[in-house]
Amino acid sequence: MKKFDYYQPESLNEAYRLMEENEGRARYIAGGTDIIWRIKQGVIKADALISLRRIRPLEGITRNGGLTLGSMALFRNIEKDSSIARDYPSLTQAVSILANPQVRNVATVGGNLCNGAPSADSVPPLMVLEAVLTIEGPGGRREVPIGNFFTGPGQSCMDRTEILTQIKIPKKVFNSGSAFLKKGRVSQDIAVVNAAAFLVMEGKICRKCRLAVGAVAPVPLRLTNIEEMVEGREIDPELLDRVGEMVERAVSPITDVRSTENWRRVMSGVLVKRAIQKAHKMVD
């Protein structure tokens, strides 16, 4: 394996300083379950890794009306949190079938986001739950809605010294439901397609709709046009069929080892429809 230095700062300021001292040769590392593999494959070159695991304030999961996830919160801890399962079931569903137990024991939600994989399972639920990301760097702190975070496969709006520190999810509202679905050969595979839906209902009428689909475009997609079409209407089979058709037109999948372009396109329509139905059933 290629050699690299490994730094373990205990504060954000120390991490920024190390990144500046190692400009052009270093990368931050969270749980490392993806980046180490990619370094082994030679896909990523790094002469130094700066681990964020010892920066304790990044680890926490806090309920403050809403939900604040530290970027270094482990998938294991998100999966086992019963208050998250109650209020944000789509997030629990996504993280409980993400990779496998040994990976979930090490991998972090922030790492999953910063990887920028279009197929990242944590992203569609965080998108429909309208998560806001806190990004901090030597120049200060900024907040970015998750829909503006991804700029391409493996790319985000962060610069090299910045660190994603928090993921904030608004308070759960009454009469709402959310759901996550994933299509893979087996559930723990990298998704062929994944999708999430969030609905706020008033009687039979959908008052608010949020939809997201992953692994079918260069970045995970929020389906704003389709959300607008659903809002103010009853969720009936006719509407769902139109949603499916519109999703198929909104995505731009590729063919690769896991699936063909056409299968992904058709399945993205099916999955978004089913996610709406499942979220509808979850409405409390």
């Binding site: 290629k2 490994y6 040994q102 024991n105 723990q188």
Partner: protein, 161 residues
């Protein structure tokens, strides 16, 4: 970059001067000569390199060794009791045919241990989920699931909670 790393390995305090790019797997096998932990894919897919750190299972092929400082690591060697007596999970694997070629067994048994440390009454579904990060190319998994169910019984009979 080199550093002296201290940690607990199967109950013993150990330390060694290690290079920063090493993964825990290489250090267990090459530095500490504990070759029970296997390298399969080296990519975090197959689970043969599974060890337990501070009570949770991890894949040691993707675990930078500097992160193990101050932690407690259990490998398959750590399960064997005095006089080479097998752990009840190991006994169950032997008796129920959970072992064929044996390559996946150390990782499979440690994933089972991580589960059985949490519950002695796992459902079949919980067992399947617990070993979902471990590949076996011999058994078809049926005997492994039988073994883990049997191990759960052995553990609860041995030391009733």
């Amino acid at each position: 970059m080199k550093k002296v790393i201290q940690f607990t390995l199967n109950g013993n305090e150990v330390s060694a001067e290690l290079e920063s790019h090493k993964m825990l797997l290489e250090v267990l096998r090459d530095t500490f000569e504990m070759t029970g932990t296997k390298e399969g894919c080296g990519q975090g897919e197959c689970g043969t390199c599974t060890v337990i750190i501070d009570g949770v299972s991890i894949k040691s092929c993707l675990y930078p060794v500097f992160e193990v400082e101050g932690k407690s690591v259990t490998t398959i060697e750590g399960l064997v009791g005095e006089g080479g007596k097998l752990h009840p999970i190991q006994e169950a694997f032997v008796e129920k045919g959970g072992i064929q070629c044996g390559f996946c067994s150390p990782g499979m048994i440690l994933s089972a241990k991580a589960l059985l440390d949490e519950t002695w009454t796992p459902s079949d579904n919980e067992i399947k989920r617990a070993i979902s990060g471990n590949l076996c190319r011999c058994t078809g998994y049926v005997q492994i699931i039988d073994s883990i169910r049997d191990a759960a019984t052995r553990l609860s009979n041995q030391d009733p909670k």
